[in-house]
């Protein structure tokens, strides 16, 4: 087959796949600017006068601001805690080479392999017993715990990419281990930290099940609010769902747009780095 034709065909297939994946997103974005009748009309209305009434309605509803704030605070604080712990753990795994490092790393990642449904009941019982259900510290710590394994994996790759000669230079130049950790190694794994932050932020931002089970009225985040409110008027409230979904999508899209370079580096676990 001619090379040019193959490339064209390849691009056409890519566009078709991309459009299929993007179609529901496109539909929800369009719906956010339609009236309820326009959303439900058959055949679908492709040409209409956009309205911001759905967004005005959204922000006049009680608690919507709280849900968005909950999502932002819980995910940001949880991921920041996870990053601090993960960076220290990744450094320790990278530098103090215990014989059991591989095994511990495997166990750490295996936490992420456990289906959420299998752990939700024990976590619920534990949270009730500890009195942590529907508390900010409880939700934040849970998400931090859930973000740590993957962050350790990403960051260990990055710390491995920083030659130990940097540490040694710092140490012989009179620096303490903490100086080496935060002034020498940390600046060099910044792309990894950004990548880990975004990966985990998106995960926590989208998480539904645990917030539904161990959260409550105080700590409800947007995904739970979306499902709860969507059906609470005896049918699907399409205008609410579409407008809240669009607002909900904005932070991750902005994060991915601005930090996509770091995400690509993060996906290679920092392995493209050289010796020094």
């Amino acid at each position: 087959m001619h090379k040019g034709f193959k490339t064209t065909l390849y691009h056409i297939i890519l566009w078709i796949v991309a459009l299929i994946f993007f179609a529901p997103v496109f539909w929800i974005i369009l719906s956010a600017f339609k009236t309820k009748d326009q959303i439900l009309s058959i055949p679908p209305k492709w040409f209409f006068t956009p309205t911001l009434a759905n967004f005005v309605d959204l922000f006049t509803r009680p608690n919507v601001g709280t849900y968005i704030r909950n999502s932002l605070l819980i995910s940001a604080i949880a991921v920041l805690i996870a990053l601090v712990v993960s960076f220290l753990a990744a450094y320790a795994f990278s530098r103090f080479k215990l014989k059991s490092t591989s095994l511990i790393m495997f166990f750490l990642l295996s936490i992420r392999m456990v289906p959420a449904a299998a752990s939700v009941i024990p976590v619920f019982l534990m949270y009730v017993a500890l009195g942590w259900k529907d508390t900010y510290p409880g939700m934040t710590l849970f998400y931090a715990m859930f973000s740590i394994p993957f962050s350790v994996w990403i960051l260990k790759g990055f710390v491995d990419g920083v030659s130990e000669r940097f540490d040694e230079t710092g140490l012989v130049n009179g620096g303490s281990r903490l100086h080496v950790l935060f002034d020498v190694v940390l600046p060099q794994v910044r792309p990894g930290l950004v990548a880990a932050f975004i990966f985990n932020m998106v995960f926590v931002w989208n998480e539904y099940m645990f917030n539904y089970i161990i959260g409550g009225k105080t700590t409800t985040t947007v995904p739970v609010a979306l499902v709860t409110w969507m059906l609470n008027q005896g049918g699907v409230d399409w205008t609410f769902m579409a407008s809240l979904t669009v607002v909900f999508m904005i932070p991750p899209i902005l994060a991915v747009y601005f930090f996509q370079k770091y995400l690509l580096i993060g996906m290679t676990f920092g392995t493209v780095r050289g010796e020094i």
Partner: protein
Amino acid sequence: MSDIRIEKLRKEYGQTVAVNDVTITFPSGSVTCLLGPSGCGKTTLLRMIAGLEDVTSGEIYFGDQKVTDLAPSKRNIGMVFQYPVVYRGITVYENIELPLLQEKLSDQERRKRVMDVVETLGLQSSINKDITKLDNGTRQKVAVARTVARQPQIILFDEPITNVDVASKDQLKQALKDLTRMLKQTIVYVTHDQTEAMTLADQIALMKDGVVVQRDAPRSLYNQPNDVFGGWFLGNPGMNFFDLSAKTNGHGTEIQTGLFSRPLMIEGLEKDSNIKLGIRPEQVKVSGKKNDRMVQGTILRKSIVVGGQYLVTIKSCDQTFKAKVEPETGYALKDEVWFEIPLKDIIIFGPDGHRLDVKTSLA
């Protein structure tokens, strides 16, 4: 400033002994090169001095202070590694200044220290450049400058020129030479490159299999190696060695060999021993004309060595050896030549490979 005293220092990795009960003193204010082939334990020894490796046994003293168990950061040392360690994202100036920020110095004093080393190492034109834009040679200069600016009592260099491109190598070597002469600090410099060691060192400690086999001034080490290893390792190429048998008769102990015009007499040798005779290629005299001390040989091979000299392989009787000759001699392969091995330059080693203190003459 203080000297470095190493007492019976040992490092084992499982069954492997990397450093084998080494006892040595690195004098205060001088440059000592640890020279030896790869894997001889020189870097391990240096890293133990720096505190980057735990010792298996033995002690390390800086002056009167025992530092064996002291953390690297408490030893007041500086170290330059094989790979240029520089911090990305900051300028050359900031790289040099970084460790000084931890010390209680005024801004003026800090700037002065940075600028002094910048000037010494000729980094003025690079001072505000991003470190990633520089070649390896300049990066290594920055690493050296960062170490020197701290003014530690001891500076350790771990093969700092090895990973620098050829073009920058000589320049960096010269810069290091100027710097070491100026600093007058206690410097230990690890290298496997004898030229580097000969250029920079006040004394060389030659290592083999985890042991310091000889420590001497460069010229003494070259001319008077304590054992066969020193003769072989130093020089390009190393010494020629001849396995010979000495027999004792009524006239004394003598060696019958075709290498000399007459039998070689050795005074101070045990009866009937096997010895190794060593001579450096540049000390063998080669001529197209015969005299009474010369022996005939044939040129087998010929190649150019550094400095424009020719390295020729000569065969005489059943012995083959190397000699250096000037290009104008114009020898060709299979040419018949005359050679002399001067008695003042030969070294006699015993069967165990150690140099023997004997006198030689021709019968």
